[in-house]
């Protein structure tokens, strides 16, 4: 009896193998924050974006079978690395996407290089990923700290906002953002009149806002993220910062944060993003589909989630050209060779250091009376062309480039 069962199982396995001989399997792991502060900016929305990319790709490439798995790194590098190792070694994952939180991403990029798989970094902000820590297995989509500082800083100084006071989150990310933005402000003829470092996850900013108010700076730069940014802006409205003639510059603000603030509170805020759902018919159609799949009609996709879609799609195109996902370095080389083209970011390219070049947009949050429908958040103030939006290749100190 036992023998028969084993035989039956064996022949069944052989049969399946035969049927799938033509099929190429690709497995994508979305490593993200499913339970904490970046859940809304990435999280389930990123997983859905990867699934949509897989779906769209398989429609035109029927011999491919793309599977998407997801994991929660809990914002801990050790947890992230453990999941990545398990995925690659045991579950045969070929590409890891998303990874919000630069600390986790800097660890994951090493795992991808060691095991020769691909990391499409659409979630993290650290520009070091394409700088000193760059490698031949990583592509950095969506944004980075240099671009945020440059985009928002430069445009605001040029529009007359030439004196700055920073509210800075007291850890590596905040310090980097403050440093980069200060440099941009000074280089463009502005000045920095002061800064205050607040602990991460501060709920009350009134004391810091008072200091910012007394500094008389025209612009209050928020070198922080998530709940800290929201609290600062919310209480800034209460303390009459904007009414008093000062303005906030959000250095990292997602559409999900604007949604959380409401336009009444967030109006007038300047910010830089590389994707806005309401840009053209293609982005609107994609957003509708995303909302329907997730059953969240009152949430709007962030640039990170769009980055997961675009990055995954471009990765799959490279795999299709090579007809194999086995060699990560070869796939990334192919991704760099081909120009990028997708409905969300438009046409672009991948640079030698892994930086994806696409335009960035400076937005201003609309007044409530200007907003005509839910999700109508931004006025476009200016477009920063792809070749100016990101750090010049020679300034990054990427070993791949300097040799």
């Amino acid at each position: 009896m036992r023998k028969t069962l084993v035989l039956a199982a064996l022949s069944a396995a052989l049969l399946c193998g035969g049927a799938n001989a033509q099929q190429i399997n690709v497995k994508i792991g979305v490593l993200t924050d499913m339970s904490s502060l970046y859940k809304d900016a990435t999280g389930p929305g990123s997983v859905e974006a990867a699934k949509m990319a897989a779906e769209d790709f398989m429609k035109t490439h029927p011999i491919f079978k793309v599977e998407v798995v997801s994991g929660d790194h809990q914002n801990k590098p050790d947890v992230g690395v453990q999941i990545a190792n398990q995925w690659i070694d045991v579950e045969h994952v070929d590409m890891i996407a998303d990874v919000p939180n630069s600390g986790v991403a800097l660890a994951i990029t090493q795992v991808a290089a060691q095991k020769n798989k691909v990391f499409v970094a659409s979630g993290p902000a650290a520009s070091d990923l394409t700088g000193p820590k760059c490698n031949a297995n990583m592509v950095h989509w969506t944004y980075d700290t240099w671009m945020l500082a440059n985009g928002t800083g430069k445009a605001i100084v040029k529009n007359g906002g030439d004196s700055w006071f920073f509210l800075t989150s007291d850890y590596a990310f905040g310090h980097a953002l403050e440093r980069d933005t200060s440099a941009v402000v000074i280089a463009n003829g502005g000045k920095v009149v002061g800064a205050v470092r607040h602990p991460i996850n501060t709920s009350d900013f009134s004391s810091f806002l008072l200091q910012a108010q007394q500094s008389k700076a025209k612009i209050i730069g928020l070198a922080n993220a998530g709940g800290d940014t929201i609290n600062a802006i919310k209480q800034g409205a209460e303390f009459g910062i904007v009414a008093g003639g000062q303005r906030f510059a959000g250095l990292l603000v997602f559409a999900s944060d604007v949604n959380a603030l409401g336009l009444k509170t967030a109006q007038g805020l300047s910010l830089t993003e590389t994707f806005y759902w309401d840009t053209n018919d293609a982005t609107r159609a994609w957003t509708k589909r995303w909302q329907a799949n997730l059953k969240t009609p009152d949430k709007w996709p962030t640039m990170n989630q769009a980055g997961v879609y675009a990055g995954t799609l471009h990765y799959l195109k490279a795999v299709a050209a090579l007809k194999s996902a086995a060699d990560g370095k070869a796939v990334v080389a192919e991704m760099k060779k081909e120009p990028t083209d997708d409905p969300l970011f438009g046409k672009g390219s991948v640079r030698a250091d892994g930086r994806v070049l696409h335009p960035a947009f400076l937005f201003e949050v609309k007044k409530p009376e200007e907003s005509k429908y839910p999700g109508d958040f931004y006025n476009l103030k200016s477009t920063i062309p792809a070749d100016q939006a990101f750090r010049p290749l020679k300034d990054g100190n990427c070993p791949l480039v300097s040799g």
Binding site: G43, S206, A260
Partner: protein, 295 residues
């Protein structure tokens, strides 16, 4: 202009006032904790989650039934208080005879569950809640701009704190309650329904947390994490004031708000830590806290 340690005195006045306002939040939250610990001997780790529920329910009321800030200030504490009563009846009442640790673990677990479920349904980025129109704007005091809402926070918090203190320390009901904590069986012998009184007290403590949550909704980010960010500081306040001491919670709440406010001017990086430094010192010098009764 006169300068104190390099800071203009006008700036310092502003910071002192801000500290006082933040202190009133601490006082309001630690008050509920102190009432629950003093009367039930339960270390209520769910307090942060109940504060968060207060803000979330206020948001839901506005979104689904159009009830604004003022009705929410009354309705939300009642609703969340009822949830508290259920928690006490179903779980907590079985733990009074056991070590403190069991109550702590149970309430901590409940807090994680409440926060996890809220995050699952409402996301983590936060939800919009605008200032009520009647409290918009503010006064220019010369040395600072004082938003009207902050004035209201101080007034409401002081009223609630003093009212609670008066009820527990100066009324007949309060006397029963204090007697029931000292010797429940004796108070029962006088024909007083002690379990019901305890249940209502827990419900009241929870309602205080929810009240603070509604007060916080227009100015702080309304998100499932808002409670866990604040609860540790509030616990430190209660420990410094003396576990279970109601007056201690109120006085320490205001005092630490001021100290924290000053730290934000002179050494902002330490503003999250200063309260714990003070806690360590107080525990070394006076282990029962500043106002606590020695066991």
């Amino acid at each position: 202009m006169i300068e104190i340690f390099g800071i203009p005195s006008s700036a310092l006045f502003g910071q002192l006032l801000i500290g006082l306002i933040n202190g009133s939040f601490y006082a309001l939250l630690s008050l509920g904790l102190a009432v629950i610990f003093g009367m039930l001997n339960i270390i209520n780790f769910t307090h942060g989650a109940q504060y968060m529920l207060g803000a979330l329910v206020a948001y839901l009321l506005l979104k689904y039934s159009g009830l604004g800030y003022w009705p929410a200030l009354i309705i939300v504490p009642v609703l969340v208080g009822i949830v508290g009563v259920l928690i006490e009846r179903v779980f907590l009442q079985w733990l009074y005879k056991l070590d403190h640790l069991y109550g702590l673990l149970l309430t901590f677990g409940l807090a994680l569950i409440i926060e996890g479920v809220s995050r699952n349904y409402l996301g983590s980025a936060g939800l919009p809640y605008a200032l009520p129109d009647s409290l918009r704007g503010g006064q220019n005091l010369g040395f600072m701009f004082l938003p009207n809402y902050r004035v209201w926070v101080i007034v409401a918090s002081l009223t609630v704190c003093l009212g609670t203190w008066f009820m527990i320390e100066r009324t007949r009901f309060g006397a029963y309650l204090r007697a029931a904590t000292e010797n429940p069986s004796l108070v029962r012998a006088f024909g007083i329904n002690v379990p019901r009184m305890i249940t209502l007290t827990y419900g009241f403590g929870v309602a205080l947390a929810a009240f603070a949550g509604v007060m916080a909704a227009p100015i702080y980010n309304v998100s499932p994490n808002m409670g866990s960010e604040l609860i540790i500081v509030v616990f430190a306040v209660v420990v410094i004031g003396g576990m279970g001491s109601i007056l201690g919670a109120i006085v320490t709440g205001f005092g630490l708000g001021i100290i924290e406010g000053l730290t934000k001017v002179f050494f902002p990086e330490a503003s999250n830590t200063v309260i714990f430094v003070i806690m360590a010192i107080v525990l070394l010098v006076s282990p029962a806290g500043l106002f606590g009764r020695r066991a």
